[in-house]
C-alpha cells in the first residue's frame, strides 16, 4: 500500500489524480477505465476539499493498493473532518426535465456508477471511504 497525505484543497486535485492514474498507466490499464477513475478520484477529493473542514482546513490521505486475480485497484480516502457519509446522499432522478433537475448530487452519483465496490465507515474520528475498481 502506498499513500499520499495532502492538503484538502481543490488546487491539489491534479496531484491526487496523478498519484492514482500514474500506476494505472504503468499497468497498461485501458483509457476508458483511466477516464472513469479520474472522474471518481476528482469527485471524491473535491467533496473532501469543499466540505470536510469548512471553514477550516485539513489534510486528506489517499491510499492505493493493487490486487491480482481479478486485477483491481483499491483506493481509500481518509479525512478527519465533519462525519459525513456521501453514500447516503440520495441519487438524482435522471429522468426529470431541465427545470426540475437539481444542480447538486451529481458527483457522488457518478462515483457510484463508475466503481465496482464502495463503502464508508466513520472510524477513530475519521471518515474512511474505500472503493474498488476492476480493470
Amino acid at each position: 500500500m502506498e499513500q499520499l497525505i495532502i492538503e484538502a484543497k481543490v488546487e491539489n486535485l491534479e496531484k491526487v489524480t496523478e498519484f492514482i492514474i500514474e500506476s494505472l498507466e504503468e499497468m497498461n490499464c485501458k483509457p476508458k477505465i483511466i477516464m472513469q477513475m479520474e472522474l471518481v478520484i476528482e469527485e471524491l477529493f473535491v467533496n473532501v476539499a469543499n466540505y470536510a473542514y469548512t471553514p477550516k482546513e485539513g489534510n486528506c490521505t489517499v491510499q492505493k493498493e493493487f490486487q491480482e486475480n481479478p486485477r483491481a485497484v483499491v483506493v481509500t480516502f481518509i479525512d478527519s473532518g465533519m462525519p459525513y457519509n456521501p453514500l447516503e446522499h440520495e441519487d438524482p432522478d435522471t429522468s426529470l426535465g431541465v427545470e426540475e433537475r437539481a444542480i447538486g448530487g451529481l458527483g457522488i452519483f457518478l462515483v457510484k456508477k463508475n466503481v465496482d465496490e464502495i463503502s464508508y465507515e466513520h472510524k477513530d474520528g475519521q471518515n474512511v471511504l474505500r472503493l474498488k475498481k476492476l480493470f
Binding site: 481543490v10 488546487e11 486535485l13 491534479e14 483509457p31 476508458k32 477516464m35 479520474e38 472522474l39 476528482e42 469527485e43 473535491v46 438524482p92 435522471t94 429522468s95 426529470l96 426535465g97 431541465v98 427545470e99 433537475r101 444542480i103 447538486g104 451529481l106 458527483g107 452519483f109 457518478l110 456508477k113 463508475n114
Partner: protein
C-alpha cells in the same frame, strides 16, 4: 481548459477544449455570465474537450436553464468519453446534443 468565443449576430459559439473540471468550471461560469446577455442561440463546440466532471455538468445545466428562457442551446462534436458522462447522468436526454 481553453475557451474560444465567436459571436455572430445573436448566436454565440463557445469552443471548449481540454478538461472541464472542478479546478476551472468557474471560468466557464464567468464567461457565460459575461457573454449571454442578448444571445438567442448558444452553441457549445466540444471538439477539443477530453473530460468533464460534475462541476462542468452543473455549469451546463445552469446554462440550459437560462437558455430555455431566452432561446436555445446546442452541444456539438462530443467525444465518446464526454458523451459517456452525459449519458450516465441523463444529461444526454435533457440537452440538444449532436455527436
Amino acid at each position: 481548459m481553453e475557451i474560444k468565443k465567436e459571436l455572430n449576430g445573436t448566436t454565440l459559439t463557445l469552443k471548449i477544449s481540454g478538461r472541464l473540471d472542478a479546478s476551472n468550471a468557474v471560468e466557464l461560469t464567468n464567461e457565460l455570465n459575461a457573454s449571454l446577455s442578448g444571445v438567442k442561440d448558444l452553441i457549445f463546440d466540444f471538439k477539443g474537450l477530453e473530460y468533464v466532471a460534475s462541476a462542468g455538468l452543473r455549469v451546463l445545466l445552469t446554462a440550459q436553464k437560462r437558455m430555455n428562457k431566452q432561446g436555445s442551446m446546442k452541444i456539438r462534436n462530443v467525444a465518446d468519453a464526454v458523451m459517456e458522462v452525459l449519458e450516465m447522468t441523463g444529461f444526454a436526454d435533457l440537452m440538444n446534443i449532436e455527436k
